[in-house]
């Protein structure tokens, strides 16, 4: 976990990610994986099946996977919002970045320098660093909300008028965006938005785990943030 040079130093640890957050993280990651793959194949189906229609149910299964994962993602997200209310201070981070704190923006600046190889050392954070927080908030949280709203608007088209998803989402989102095809297009864009987020998220998590001064990947499994040196923690922002 830590490099040899640090082995003699003490390694303070902080409990950051409570169990429900960790569980949600991995369930959510799995749901997004299933949604991305199945969703892509709903939009661009696999090569045609031959024979009788009664012999196959391929699109049916793909769509089922998509809808089931969609439900899991929705329930998980609602649970995550509940935990935002009752969990520790870190559970609120990604929902309410401290936009009005000047320290936050200087942190963003430093973090950008770190990623442009202009800073020698990254700062130490118990939770997300300011740049990560911005990405989490704008790409992930709003991306999730957008995908849930457009996704269930499209789902409501199938379940029809009178169903909860039609009443709650389809009935106003489809006219708002123009027509059904526009909602499909935006939902496609949303998928790529989330995919780009996932690429950056996974890369940065692994990179920071190796190069920064705190644990990242293992923290989302154990919940503990381990610091690799006993320097000052820059949480003050």
């Amino acid at each position: 976990m830590s490099s040899e040079a640090h082995i003699t130093r003490s390694e303070p640890s902080v409990y950051v990610y409570e169990a429900p957050i960790r569980l949600w993280h991995w369930v959510n990651a799995f749901a997004i994986l299933v949604l991305g793959i199945s969703g892509y194949f709903v939009g661009s189906p696999l090569p045609t099946m031959s024979g009788e229609a009664s012999d196959h149910y391929l699109m049916g299964y793909i769509r089922f996977a998509h809808f089931a994962a969609g439900y899991i993602l929705l329930v998980g997200f609602l649970g995550r919002i509940y935990w935002m209310l009752v969990g520790n201070s870190h559970s609120r981070e990604i929902f309410f970045p401290p936009f009005f704190s000047p320290g936050f923006w200087s942190g963003v600046k430093h973090e950008l320098k770190w990623y442009l190889f202009m800073a020698k050392e990254p700062r130490k954070y118990t939770g997300h660093n300011p740049l990560a927080l911005l990405t989490m908030h704008f790409m992930f949280v709003w991306g999730m909300i957008f995908m849930i709203f457009t996704g269930f608007a499209l789902y409501g088209e199938g379940t029809g008028p009178g169903s909860w998803s039609h009443n709650l989402f389809s009935s106003w989102i489809i006219p708002l965006m123009g027509q059904s095809m526009d909602v499909h297009t935006w939902h496609h864009f949303g998928m790529w938005w989330i995919i780009i987020f996932a690429i950056v998220h996974i890369y940065v998590a692994i990179r920071e785990d190796i190069m920064s001064r705190q644990s990242i990947v293992s923290s989302m499994i154990s919940g503990w943030r381990n610091f690799k040196d006993d320097g000052k923690i820059d949480d003050g922002r």
Binding site: S44, M49, D55, F117, G178, Q179, S180, F189, M211
Partner: protein, 356 residues
């Protein structure tokens, strides 16, 4: 006093038996309970016909063409007589000044108590000069009649949404009824290019019988015909669920009647009743004829790119784009950037270790 529907029908040689059949079939078509057949019959026997002024703006007359092919149990001429169609410049006998005089006459006689049916739409640019009716811009005629009518039927995608004459960049600024008129009158939209004949006659029958609109959705379309997608009731739907698709026209799948999704069928995004009511006495509809739905009853269908591709064309990012091409390119760019960043990071880290 104008004649009742029943009197007109009898005059046309329709027997009472056929009349009652028509009433029960109309009730069934409108999704009403059996007892409504009697109500419809009663209404038609007693109510004077509400006059309709049917105006034509920028259009192709396909709505009229569809309407006169209504294949309800009663012959089309009865459907036409049933409606007190006071003005319809395409099919009326009178022409010129005489025809235009009827509009003023109807407005005077039935002020606030007639239906305005609009086929086509009004161009707003150049003060409406791109569509002239009887020497004046159609826009003026439309606004004049709309001011005095009871309610408006927007026939077809032109009057409902704009349709092809409103296609980007819309040089004449062709504008659908609800955005063109200055008065605030109830509007029912019956989109489609054209709408299904039976849907048109059923909407008229409903309005005349009950003197109100059928239940409308948020976009102002009658729910009974526009609450489900073509896809939901498509007879090729089992092939979609099975994953059996026409990959290109004239392949084995096309011959076997597989789902047209991959060759751009818009059935999954189009709200209309084609797959249930079908066309020309229920003979067929586009998908049954082997061609995908083009989504003609949806707003903006004329500007969404190819009729043979699933995804909408996106022009903001170049000539040939769609959500997957744009998104895929962005993801590839980010992926490459991440890889490059990782490589530089690895080098930097190696240097740092050497120095340490």
């Amino acid at each position: 006093m104008t004649e009742t529907f029943y009197e007109v029908m009898r005059r046309q040689g329709i027997s009472r038996r056929s009349f009652l059949k028509y009433c029960s079939l109309t009730a069934a078509a409108l999704g009403l309970a059996p007892e409504f057949a009697g109500k419809i019959a009663h209404a038609m026997e007693t109510k004077p016909r509400i006059p309709i002024l049917w105006l034509h703006g920028l259009e192709c007359t396909c709505c009229s063409e569809s309407f006169i092919r209504s294949a309800h149990p009663l012959a089309k001429d009865v459907v036409l007589s049933m409606v007190s169609l006071d003005y319809d410049d395409t099919i009326m006998a009178a022409a010129g000044t005489q025809a235009e005089a009827i509009i003023e006459e109807t407005i005077k006689k039935y002020d606030g108590n007639f239906i305005l049916a609009v086929e086509g739409n009004a161009p707003l640019n150049q003060e409406g000069m791109s569509c002239i009716i009887a020497g004046k811009p159609f826009l003026e005629q439309l606004n004049h009649v709309a001011e005095h009518c009871k309610a408006i039927i927007s026939w077809g995608s032109c009057a409902s949404y704009g349709c092809v004459q409103a296609a980007h960049p819309n040089p004449t600024k062709a504008t659908p009824t609800h955005k063109a008129i200055k008065t605030n009158k109830p509007i029912i939209k019956v989109p489609g290019c054209p709408p299904i004949a039976e849907v048109m006659t059923a909407v008229v029958t409903y309005i005349l019988t009950f003197e109100r609109f059928p239940e409308l959705d948020r976009q102002g379309r009658p729910k009974m015909f526009y609450s489900q997608r073509i896809h939901d009731k498509c007879y090729r739907r089992p092939h979609f669920d099975a994953g059996q698709f026409v990959e290109k026209f004239d392949d084995e799948g096309a011959r076997k009647g597989y789902c047209l999704y991959k060759v751009g069928c818009k059935g999954p995004t189009t709200y209309n009743a084609c797959s249930t009511i079908r066309w020309n006495e229920g003979t067929s509809f586009p998908i049954q004829a082997g061609h995908g739905c083009i989504g003609c009853s949806e707003d903006g269908f004329w500007d969404k790119g190819s009729w043979y591709a699933r995804l909408t064309d996106v022009h903001q990012f170049g000539i040939e784009g769609n959500a997957d091409k744009v998104g895929g390119t962005a993801a590839a760019v980010v992926g490459t950037a991440v890889a490059a960043h990782a490589a530089i990071s690895a080098v930097k880290r190696a240097q740092k270790k050497e120095n340490a």
